[in-house]
């Protein structure tokens, strides 16, 4: 069995999570090759074949050309699977490659399963097993699901070229906005999620943070609706934190939020839904209404 792994580079550097692709390939027991739109400096530490296309020429975001570059590598390598990470690059490019190859695509794979691939559904609350029909098969992998593996060695470089132009014009990157407190240094964080209900309820969360001597964080919808500043957001597109204590109030535990806080020392979740996915990472799940439980906890701690 053969897999073609699609590496990712940004600003001329290989993105670290590209090594998770090798972890997946090794679980599958497959032969590997990689395709990368990047440059020599972004080559992985890997002794196999790397089809390298010059990002200087093809751009770091140019899906029309990138899909054809991947297709060119597929034609040379004839893989059974073409594997991306489930990232803003992967979920953008993979369906285009699938369309070009007339291939089935399974997105956000978390495990190999009997007769197919396991993936989350219903906002991570459930799992499904999906079996692709025909091949090659396009896959995207959930970040963190397959441990990274650095094979080591120097790549056998093969240069890829395609002609033509893309229809999207990439105008550049914009750095993340970082305003407000630096949550990465906080020892205690109390975070508010949509389950807090409304902006007017937020002081209840702040008061708990205050008696605990901690900072206030938030899930994305709380920031998106303007209840709190963007700097407070915890998660893949916010801050990655690892306090000694993380208290998640009315937060469901979406993978993008978990990515930012699951390394916390001790996690307490307050959620009225006993099945909320946050329960997977919480050391203590309090099944309660935030607006009843949190003020009661604050009052007791204040004594």
């Amino acid at each position: 069995m053969k897999v073609l792994l699609v590496g990712e580079s940004r600003d001329g550097k290989l993105l670290e999570y590209s090594y998770e692709l090798f972890g997946f390939a090794s679980q599958l027991g497959a032969e590997t090759a990689m395709v990368l739109i990047g440059n020599d400096a972004a080559l992985p530490s890997y002794g196999g074949t790397v089809y390298l296309a010059d990002a200087g020429k093809y751009g770091e975001y140019n899906p029309d050309l990138h899909k054809r570059l991947v297709q060119a590598a597929v034609e040379r390598e004839k893989p059974d699977y073409v594997v991306f990470m489930h990232t803003s690059y992967g979920w953008d490019l993979a369906p285009r490659v699938a369309a070009l190859l007339k291939a089935p695509q399974v997105s956000e794979v978390v495990a190999l399963a009997e007769g197919g691939f396991e993936r989350p559904c219903c906002s991570q609350k459930m799992r499904q097993v999906v079996r692709p029909v025909g091949g090659p098969v396009v896959l995207t992998l959930q970040g963190g699901a397959f441990p990274a593996l650095v094979p080591g060695g120097a790549p056998l470089k093969q240069t890829l070229e395609v002609a033509g132009e893309g229809r999207t014009e990439f105008l550049g990157y914009e750095a993340a906005v970082r305003k407000g407190v630096d949550l990465t240094r906080a020892e205690i964080i109390v975070s508010a999620g949509r389950g807090v209900g409304k902006k007017e309820n937020l002081p209840v969360i702040a008061e708990l943070a205050k008696v605990l001597g901690g900072e206030v964080g938030a899930s994305r919808p709380v920031v998106d609706s303007g209840w709190m500043e963007a700097g407070a957001q915890v998660g893949v597109t916010g801050q990655t934190v690892s306090p000694k204590l993380y208290v998640a109030c009315g937060i469901s535990g979406a993978i993008q939020h978990l990515a930012g806080m699951k390394k916390s020392g001790f996690i307490v979740a307050i959620n009225k839904d006993k099945d909320a996915p946050i329960g997977e990472v919480a050391d203590v799940l309090v099944v309660a209404d935030v607006m009843q439980f949190v003020p009661a906890l604050t009052a007791k701690l204040a004594k």
């Binding site: 953008d92 369309a99 956000e108 219903c122 990157y173 893949v236 000694k244 009843q292 007791k300």
Partner: protein, 258 residues
């Protein structure tokens, strides 16, 4: 200008999900359905674009699914879309993302839409494929995961959200498709007069057989709850008691309480 918005109806994610009789997807009994959250941003952006252009563009909503999806369509019409197409498919759940995209593309092909908005993913299946696959089938350029959208003179300029909160700015010529990410705008709540007005708007019904030409590429083999990995302590019962038990655990297991 003609605008298309693709809308999926999904269950409320706070629901308790149970497998259906075949054990491959959720059973619909006891589930409340709503508009996919990402698609609310798509509808709102279409309405904002219409307003920007002085009301000239016509917004069509499209949803593939059983009769219940008409509720989702009505919400979109009340938010400001002009008309809707319900591709009636009692077995939409037996289609894979590629088939759903082919159905949407088959409808859109002759219609000459200038801008198509979809969500970046659905909350229930979340394959993040349908929007891009529609664009590919129609030969439209497409940008995904959009958190800012501007339109001027046949050009769409968007910000794509990347990992770590970094954004990438991309420019496309219309006709184009964009997939909308959370936080793109503030979706409006339909007002009562607009809900009343929406009742008079056209909802064309097209049976799915007229649009579907593709075979499935994926088979659903199983649907189940994730295996509980160890997991922590679950505290249920009276609030006062929960408070005492939590404080006890925190004193015991962490050094944060003095």
């Amino acid at each position: 200008m003609k605008i298309l918005v693709c809308v999926k109806q999904v269950p409320d994610m706070e629901s308790r999900f149970r497998p259906d009789a075949a054990g491959v997807w959720y059973a619909e009994t006891d589930l409340a359905f709503r508009v996919n959250e990402y698609d609310e941003y798509a509808i709102e952006q279409a309405v904002l674009l219409k307003e920007q252009l002085g009301g000239e563009p016509e917004i069509t909503l499209l949803s593939v699914g059983p009769d219940r999806v008409v509720e989702a369509i009505k919400k979109g019409l009340a938010m400001g879309a002009d008309r809707a197409v319900h591709v009636r498919d009692p077995a939409a759940h037996l289609k894979d993302p590629f088939q759903i995209a082919s159905i949407i593309a088959a409808y859109a092909k002759g219609e000459g839409f200038d801008v198509i908005f979809t969500g970046m993913q659905s909350l229930d299946r979340g394959s993040t494929q349908v929007g891009v696959a529609v664009a590919e089938a129609l030969g439209y350029p497409c940008a995904t995961t959009v958190v800012a959208f501007e339109y001027a003179d046949g050009t769409v300029t968007v910000k794509r959200e990347l990992e770590g909160g970094v954004k990438g700015t991309v420019r496309l010529k219309t006709p184009a498709l964009v997939t909308c990410q959370l936080g793109l705008n503030q979706p409006r709540y339909p007002t009562l007069p607009n809900i009343m007005k929406a009742k008079k708007k056209e909802v064309a019904v097209i049976p799915v057989e007229q649009l579907l030409q593709e075979e499935a590429r994926l088979v659903l083999a199983q649907f189940s709850a994730p295996a509980k990995k160890g997991g922590g302590v679950v505290l249920e019962g009276e609030v006062a008691d929960q408070v005492d038990r939590l404080i006890g655990i925190l004193k015991d297991k962490t050094a944060v309480l003095r």
